[in-house]
């Protein structure tokens, strides 16, 4: 394996006594697409900010492109592209000027940056909005502009904190396509997302983080294999009967999960389990056999209830 572009070991960030990131370790290889998944408040953005060399770690080690961000912040940031969770475009500048000025922050000569800005506007499909005010753009357009801006310095690593939150399906697919092309060109991607389909589409490898700790690590397929079964059967009996029925279907499948509105049966052969349920004389109101997804893994690892 080629030398990692990002190495974190026992990386920790504390705010007063509270550990937002609590001793996580991971490596990202060049050209790899690496995902951070986790519920709200898990510490994803905090990790991204440390990797982006804009937040100092409390303890642990962190190396970005072979450099320590505590000592070489500007040099590291020169080679990163950052899409923060909340857009921070320059509202006093027009769309194209946002790209040009941002490129100038990296010290790119004026003539080159102007050419680059036009390429990026094309890339983000914003060429016809070049002269618009930032405030006049839709949320999705702002997001695309933020991503275009992150590419102005042709970064070696692109950090994307929830890049597609708030985008419509078309815009998301366009963005996935763009990110895929960047990956093909050798850019390393690190992204966080709450969309499991996005993680499955884009990430070669990911970690699931909860309460500042890594709960699991692997490729999407490997995680599904390790933490879930091949298929899932979802059956509904109506909210009153669910609990009662649960006792009667014991032993079916590898694992059963009883939710207020439905019962999930994890198994490698969903159809077989469903016919077994029906054979036992239980008639679900609705039933569905589907492939196991990353979402099942995620919920299993981080729990279903909302603990804030």
């Amino acid at each position: 394996m080629p030398e990692a572009v990002i190495t974190a070991s026992l990386l920790t960030k504390k705010y007063k006594d509270f550990a937002a990131v609590d001793g996580i370790s991971f490596e990202v290889a060049p050209g790899e697409s690496f995902g951070l998944l986790g519920p709200n408040g898990a510490g994803k953005s905090t990790t991204m900010r440390m990797v982006g060399a804009v937040s100092t770690r409390t303890s642990g080690d962190l190396t970005i492109l072979g450099l320590d961000p505590d000592l070489h912040g500007p040099e590291i940031r020169a080679q990163l592209g950052v899409v923060p969770q909340a857009d921070n475009l320059d509202q006093e500048l027009r769309v194209r000027d946002n790209l040009i000025v941002y490129g100038r922050y990296f010290g790119i000569p004026r003539r080159q940056v102007a050419k680059r800005a036009d390429e990026l506007l094309e890339f983000a499909q914003l060429s016809d909005r070049a002269k618009s005010r930032v405030d006049d753009l839709s949320g999705g357009m702002k997001r695309r502009l933020t991503i275009a801006r992150a590419l102005v310095n042709d970064p070696r690593i692109l950090l994307l904190d929830e890049p597609t939150t708030g985008l419509d399906p078309q815009a998301r697919h366009i963005l996935w396509d763009r990110l895929f092309r960047l990956k093909e060109q050798g850019t390393t991607l690190v992204l966080t997302t709450h969309y499991m389909d996005e993680a499955e589409q884009l990430c070669d490898r990911l970690v699931v983080v909860d309460k500042g700790k890594i709960m699991a690590e692997g490729s999407p397929a490997a995680l599904i294999k390790q933490y879930s079964t091949r298929e899932v059967v979802e059956v509904r009996f109506g909210s009153e009967k669910n609990a009662k029925v649960a006792k009667l279907i014991k032993g079916i499948g590898d694992r059963i999960e009883v939710l207020p509105d439905r019962i999930l049966i994890y198994s490698d052969n969903g159809e077989a389990e469903l016919s077994e349920i029906i054979k036992r004389g239980l008639n679900p109101i609705t039933s569905l056999v589907r492939r196991s997804s990353l979402e099942d893994v995620f919920l299993r690892l981080t729990g279903r209830s909302l603990i804030e």
Binding site: G73, E75, V82, N88, E119, E122, D154
Partner: protein, 279 residues
């Protein structure tokens, strides 16, 4: 339509970083200054101009109007000058101050607390010292602009009494730099509108009492010490010496005062930016 993005090798120049300031300075404050200039395109020119006219109105009403009753004033070193020529250099210092304060206080306050401008800047290869220097340089430009305008008005009324008045221009840069620097430093620690009002609360008495309209010898000694500790008095005395031709080595103290003010302002602004956006 092309959708693949050409990758250009070495788009970002290799950083020439200094050994000690490496993590806070990338030697690229001109990009921050350039951004400020570009952003003024959307600003309201009436507000910009109003700041310039204020000292001009004082000059016309007090200098010409009140001056016709007062006649001449005796300066600290015993020189007799017409009243208008006495207050004009003070108002020149004030216009440099006003211009410099305009961008470095309220505008910086909004950028710090409501916009995410600095957060965005500091995610690039730029360092906090670049941001501080660039923003302060931008703020001082407005001070310089006001002051140049005011100098022209002074020349028009024949209030520049000596050739050394030309040196008032670099002096004005120094004064504007000092106010912009300290103004941004103080603003960077402010969190609420009430705190920002304290700045106005200090500015107004400073404007009136800093030997602007009459020599400070009219005050008791204790009061004089306080005024001499404040920056505007140093600006007023420095410029007055230059435009009236009343030169002495003592003027260098004022230069030194502003050099110190600039340094302190830059250090604290940089520290604060670092604590807010890179911690």
């Amino acid at each position: 339509m092309t959708t693949t993005l050409p990758t250009s090798p070495a788009l970002v120049p290799a950083q020439t970083r200094s050994r000690f300031l490496g993590s806070i300075y990338a030697g690229n404050s001109r990009a921050v200054l350039g951004r400020g200039l570009l952003a003024t395109r959307t600003s309201n020119y009436w507000i910009v101009l109003s700041g310039f006219f204020e000292p001009v109105l004082y000059l016309l009403s007090l200098g010409i109007g009140l001056g016709s009753l007062i006649g001449t004033v005796t300066t600290a070193t015993g020189q007799h000058v017409p009243y208008a020529a006495y207050i004009a250099p003070a108002l020149l210092a004030v216009s440099a101050m006003n211009g410099a304060i305009y961008d470095s206080t309220w505008n910086v306050f909004f950028k710090m607390n409501y916009g995410k401008l600095y957060e965005g800047m500091l995610a690039t290869s730029i360092g906090p010292f670049d941001v501080a220097l660039g923003e302060i340089a931008f703020a001082l430009l407005r001070g310089l602009l006001y002051a140049i305008g005011f100098m022209i008005v002074m020349q028009f009324f024949g209030l520049n009494l000596a050739w050394t008045a030309l040196l008032a221009l670099p002096a004005v840069v120094l004064i504007a730099f000092g106010f912009a620097s300290l103004g941004m430093a103080i603003t960077s620690y402010m969190k609420t509108f009430q705190q920002m009002d304290w700045i106005n609360f200090v500015m107004l008495p400073m404007f009136i009492f800093s030997a602007t309209f009459y020599p400070i010898t009219v005050y008791p000694p204790a009061m004089q010490y306080i005024i001499e500790a404040l920056p505007l008095w140093h600006g007023v005395e420095l410029i007055r010496g230059l435009t009236t031709g009343d030169l002495s080595w003592g003027l260098l103290w004022h230069v030194l005062y502003f050099a110190a003010m600039i340094t302190v302002g830059l250090i604290f602004t940089t520290k604060r930016l670092r604590a807010l956006f890179l911690a």
